[in-house]
C-alpha cells in the first residue's frame, strides 16, 4: 500500500469520516512508505484505535486485532499446537513408525493460528492492530519484536514463517507504563492529543449527523474550556460526541450555563470533576 503524499492520506481518511491532523497524516504516510509499524500514544478516547479501523476501511484491508491484557502469552498472541488433536492422531494411528507420526503432527494442520501469525500468513495484506500494548508485561513485549522488525515468526518445529504480504501495523498505548526501548525503536511514534476546537468541530459534524454548525462550534469550545481545567480525567473526543448527541436528542440549539450544568455528567465521569467544572462554568437555572 502506498500513498502519494500526506495530503492523499488525509483525503483518504476524511473520506471515511476520520479527520486527521497534519501529524497523523504525515506519520501514516511515512509508515506506508517505509513499512514501519506506528506506535500511537495519547489520552483515552482521542481516536487511537479508530485510526487503525479507518485505515482498514481506506485500504479495504481486513483488520486483525490483538487486544492486549496482563497475562497475554505466546499461545494466545502467536500460535499454539492443537495438542488435543495431536493426541488423537497418535492414538488413532498405531501402524506407522514414530518418525512418520512425529513429522505429521507438527505440520500446519495441527497449528492453531492466533492474531499475530494470522496477520503474517494472510494471503491478502491486512491491517494489524495491537491494542493497548502497554497492558502486557515487559517480558511479553519481546514476543512482538520479531514481527515488528522483520515481519516474521519463528516456530521451532516448522522454521521461520515470513510474511507473504506486508501488513500495516498499528500499536496503541495509553501510556500506563513506559514501553521498552527495543519496542519503541522499531516503531514510528505518534502522539495524538485532544484536537483543537476547529478540528473537533469538523469531527463532530462528521460524526453527529443533524448537528448544526453553530452547536458544533459551541460544543468544541466548551470541550476546550473544560480540558483547560485541572481535572482527573478530561473529556475525550468520544465523550464530546456523546454530549453532542445528547444535546441533539434533547433538541437543544443553544448551549448555556444551565444546559451544561444539567448534562455535565455525559462529559465527565468523576464526581469531583463534575463539581469543579460546574463551579467554573455552569450555572444553575436559579442565578
Amino acid at each position: 500500500m502506498d500513498f502519494d503524499s500526506p495530503q492523499a492520506v488525509s483525503e483518504a481518511l476524511v473520506s471515511v469520516d476520520y479527520l486527521p491532523n497534519d501529524r497523523i497524516a504525515q506519520v501514516v504516510f511515512l509508515a506506508a512508505r517505509l513499512d514501519k509499524p506506528i506506535l500511537v500514544e495519547g489520552p483515552a478516547g482521542v481516536g487511537k484505535t479508530e485510526l487503525a479501523k479507518a485505515l482498514s476501511r481506506v485500504t479495504g484491508r481486513e483488520l486483525i486485532r490483538l487486544q492486549c491484557y496482563e497475562g497475554l502469552d505466546e499461545a494466545k498472541a502467536l500460535y499454539e499446537w492443537n495438542y488435543k488433536k495431536q493426541l488423537l492422531r497418535i492414538q488413532a494411528d498405531t501402524d506407522h513408525e514414530w518418525e512418520e507420526i512425529e513429522q505429521d503432527i507438527f505440520s500446519e494442520e495441527f497449528l492453531l493460528t492466533r492474531p499475530l501469525l494470522a496477520a503474517i500468513r494472510s494471503a491478502d495484506p491486512v491491517v494489524l492492530l495491537i491494542d493497548e500494548v502497554d497492558r502486557v508485561e515487559v517480558e511479553t513485549e519481546a514476543l512482538l519484536l520479531e514481527i515488528l522488525s522483520d515481519f516474521q515468526v519463528s516456530i521451532p518445529e516448522l522454521g521461520t514463517i515470513e510474511a507473504s504480504t506486508q501488513p500495516l501495523v498499528v500499536l496503541t498505548s495509553n501510556n500506563t507504563r513506559e514501553l521498552s526501548e527495543a519496542l519503541k525503536r522499531r516503531c514510528l511514534f505518534l502522539h495524538i492529543d485532544y484536537p483543537d476546537p476547529a478540528r473537533e468541530q469538523q469531527i463532530l459534524n462528521a460524526r453527529v449527523p443533524g448537528l448544526s454548525e453553530h452547536l458544533a462550534a459551541q460544543v468544541a469550545n466548551v470541550a476546550r474550556s473544560i480540558r483547560n481545567l485541572d481535572l482527573k480525567k478530561a473529556p475525550s473526543v468520544s465523550e464530546t460526541i456523546d454530549w453532542a448527541r445528547t444535546l441533539l436528542a434533547l433538541s437543544i440549539e443553544e448551549v448555556d450555563g444551565a444546559v451544561l450544568g444539567d448534562t455535565l455528567h455525559v462529559l465527565l465521569k468523576y464526581q469531583s470533576d463534575i463539581e469543579k467544572a460546574a463551579k467554573e462554568l455552569a450555572s444553575t437555572p436559579g442565578d
Binding site: 512508505r33 517505509l34 496482563e70 495438542y83 501510556n175 500506563t176 507504563r177 513506559e178 519503541k184 474550556s225
Partner: protein
C-alpha cells in the same frame, strides 16, 4: 541538508534525548521520502522517527526551531514585509532615527491579523515588532528571553486581548458563559502571536550566532533530570503526567500474581480436563498460589526545607492511592499524623494538599524537622498496627536540626515491619554533612536510595521490576 540533520541529532543527544543509531538511520531514510521544503512535514517526520517519549517533545521542539527555522512554513510564501528585507538585526539600531516607528500602526495591524485569523499577516507583524522593539544586539550570548520580554513590554498583549474580545462581542448581547468561551478563543490567538514573536527572535539569534551556539544556550534539562528540590511549579505540573505511569507500574509490580506453577496439583480439575483427551491427563491443572498482598506505608517529611520535594512525594502518594488500596500515608515535621484519608480515590490533589497543610497535626513544637520525635510518636501510635507484611517507605533528607536522632526507634520499626526503605532527595555526597543524620538511620534500613530526580525514582521502581533486583524484590 545531511549536515544540518546530523547536527540536529547531535543536539538532541546533547539535550538528553536518546536517539539510537537505528533511529537516526530511519530518520534519514524517512527524510528522503518527503518534501524537505515543507517544514511541517519535516518536523513531524523527524519527530516520529526519533522522539519516542512525550516528555522529550519540548526539547525536540526547541532544537527543531533552532536548526530548521530558515525553512518556511508552506503557507508562508508571501515575501517578507518591506521593513525586514535585509538582515534585520543590523538595521534595528539605526532605524528609529531614520524613520520614525509608529507603534500604534503596528498594533492596529496585529489587531486586524488576529481578528481575521490571518497567519501570514500575523507573522509579518511579529517580524516588524521584533525589528522595532526587541533591540537585538549582535553577538550577545543570550537565549532570547530578554528580547522577548522587551518586545512584549511595548506591545501590551493584555490590552490587545481586551480590545479583540470587545470587538468580537460587538453589539450583541452575550451571556457570561459565551463570553468566557470567547475569551479562551481570544487567548489562544494571542498565544499564537507570542509564539510567532518568540520564533522570530530565535530565527534571528540563529542567523547571528549560528545554530549550535543558540541551541546550547537554549538547552534545558529534561524533565526527568530536574532536581526535585528545586523544581518550579511548571516542572511539577509536567512531572505529574509522568508520575501516573510510574505508580501504576509500581502498583502492578506489587500486586502481581506469581505466574509460576508453584501451587499444588489440582487433582479434580486435572481429571476433568483429561476427559477431553481420552483420559490421558495431558494438561495438569494446578491450584493458584495465594498472591502476596503487601501493605505499603509512606512516611513523608513535609517540613519547609522539603517543601518542593514533599509536594512531589505527596503527588506520588496521591497517584499511588488511586489504584492501590492497602496504602497508608503519614506526614511529619516534628510529630506525625496520618493523612491517608485526605488522599482517597477520587479526591482532587490540590484540595488534598491544602488539607495536609491545614488539618494534619504535624507540628508539635516549632515546625523544624525532628525525625527522632516523629519516629517515636509514629511507633507509639501506629506501631502496634505494623505487621510483617508492611513495607515502610520514608522520604526525607534526614536533617534533624541537631536534635537527637533516636535511631533505635527506627530499628524497632524495622523489626516489626517487613522492610524499611529510605528515599533521600539530597545528593549522597551531602549525607552526614551538617545536621544530616543519614548514616544513623541508614544502618537500620533495608535499603537507602538517593532520589533527586524523576529518573532516579524511575530507576528505583525499575529495580523493583527487573529480575536482577532480587534482593529488592524481597523487600516488597
Amino acid at each position: 541538508m545531511l549536515g544540518v540533520i546530523t547536527g540536529f541529532i547531535d543536539e538532541l543527544r546533547e539535550a538528553g534525548v536518546p536517539v539510537s543509531m537505528v533511529e537516526a538511520i530511519d530518520a534519514m531514510r524517512a527524510v528522503e521520502a518527503i518534501n524537505v521544503g515543507d517544514r511541517v512535514a519535516l518536523r513531524e517526520t523527524l519527530r516520529a522517527t526519533m522522539v519516542k517519549n512525550l516528555r522529550h517533545e519540548r526539547a525536540f521542539d526547541t532544537a527543531f526551531e533552532v536548526y530548521f527555522s530558515t525553512i518556511p512554513v508552506p503557507s508562508d510564501v508571501s515575501p517578507l514585509p518591506e521593513q525586514g528585507k535585509d538582515l534585520p538585526r543590523s538595521e534595528s539600531e539605526d532605524r528609529p532615527q531614520s524613520q520614525p516607528f509608529d507603534l500604534d500602526a503596528l498594533l492596529e495591524r496585529l489587531f486586524q491579523a488576529l481578528a481575521d485569523m490571518d497567519g501570514a499577516a500575523l507573522r509579518q507583524g511579529a517580524q516588524t515588532a521584533v525589528d522595532q522593539l526587541a533591540g537585538m544586539e549582535p553577538g550577545r550570548p543570550v537565549g532570547g528571553t530578554y528580547y522577548l520580554y522587551r518586545t512584549l513590554r511595548r506591545l501590551d498583549l493584555a490590552g490587545l486581548e481586551e480590545r479583540l474580545l470587545q470587538a468580537l462581542i460587538g453589539d450583541s448581547e452575550m451571556s457570561e458563559f459565551d463570553q468566557r468561551l470567547l475569551r479562551e478563543e481570544v487567548q489562544s490567538r494571542i498565544e499564537e502571536l507570542r509564539e510567532e514573536i518568540q520564533e522570530e527572535i530565535r530565527r534571528r539569534l540563529v542567523a547571528d550566532r549560528g545554530r549550535d551556539a543558540v541551541a546550547r544556550t537554549l538547552r534545558r534539562p529534561l524533565i526527568e533530570d530536574v532536581d526535585l528540590m528545586h523544581a518550579t511549579a511548571g516542572d511539577l505540573k509536567e512531572m505529574d503526567a509522568a508520575i501516573g505511569p510510574l505508580t501504576r507500574k509500581l502498583a502492578a509490580r506489587l500486586a502481581r500474581r506469581r505466574r509460576k506453577r508453584t501451587g499444588r496439583l489440582d487433582f479434580r480439575r486435572t481429571v476433568r480436563r483429561s476427559l477431553a483427551t481420552g483420559g490421558v491427563p495431558a494438561d495438569p491443572q494446578f491450584r493458584h498460589p495465594r498472591p502476596h498482598r503487601p501493605e505499603v506505608w509512606l512516611l513523608c517529611d513535609v517540613s519547609g526545607s522539603m517543601a518542593t520535594f514533599s509536594r512531589f512525594t505527596l503527588q506520588f502518594t496521591h497517584a499511588m492511592a488511586t489504584h492501590f488500596s492497602k496504602l497508608r500515608s503519614f506526614a511529619f515535621v516534628d510529630t506525625v499524623d496520618e493523612v491517608t484519608d485526605f488522599f482517597g480515590p477520587g479526591v482532587d490533589f490540590g484540595s488534598a494538599l491544602e488539607r495536609v497543610a491545614t488539618e494534619a497535626e504535624v507540628v508539635w513544637l516549632d515546625g523544624h524537622s525532628d525525625y527522632g520525635n516523629s519516629l517515636e510518636n509514629f511507633v507509639k501510635r501506629y506501631g502496634p498496627q505494623l505487621t510483617p507484611r508492611t513495607t515502610v517507605i520514608i522520604t526525607g533528607d534526614a536533617r534533624n536540626n541537631y536534635r537527637p536522632p533516636r535511631d533505635q526507634v527506627l530499628a524497632e520499626v524495622t523489626r516489626m515491619a517487613r522492610a524499611v526503605v529510605w528515599l533521600n532527595p539530597e545528593p549522597s555526597t551531602y549525607w552526614d554533612t551538617g545536621d544530616s543524620m543519614m548514616s544513623h538511620y541508614a544502618r537500620h534500613c533495608s535499603s537507602v536510595h538517593e532520589v533527586r530526580t524523576l529518573r532516579q525514582l524511575e530507576q528505583f521502581v525499575e529495580e523493583l521490576t527487573l529480575p536482577t533486583g532480587r534482593s529488592l524484590q524481597n523487600v516488597l
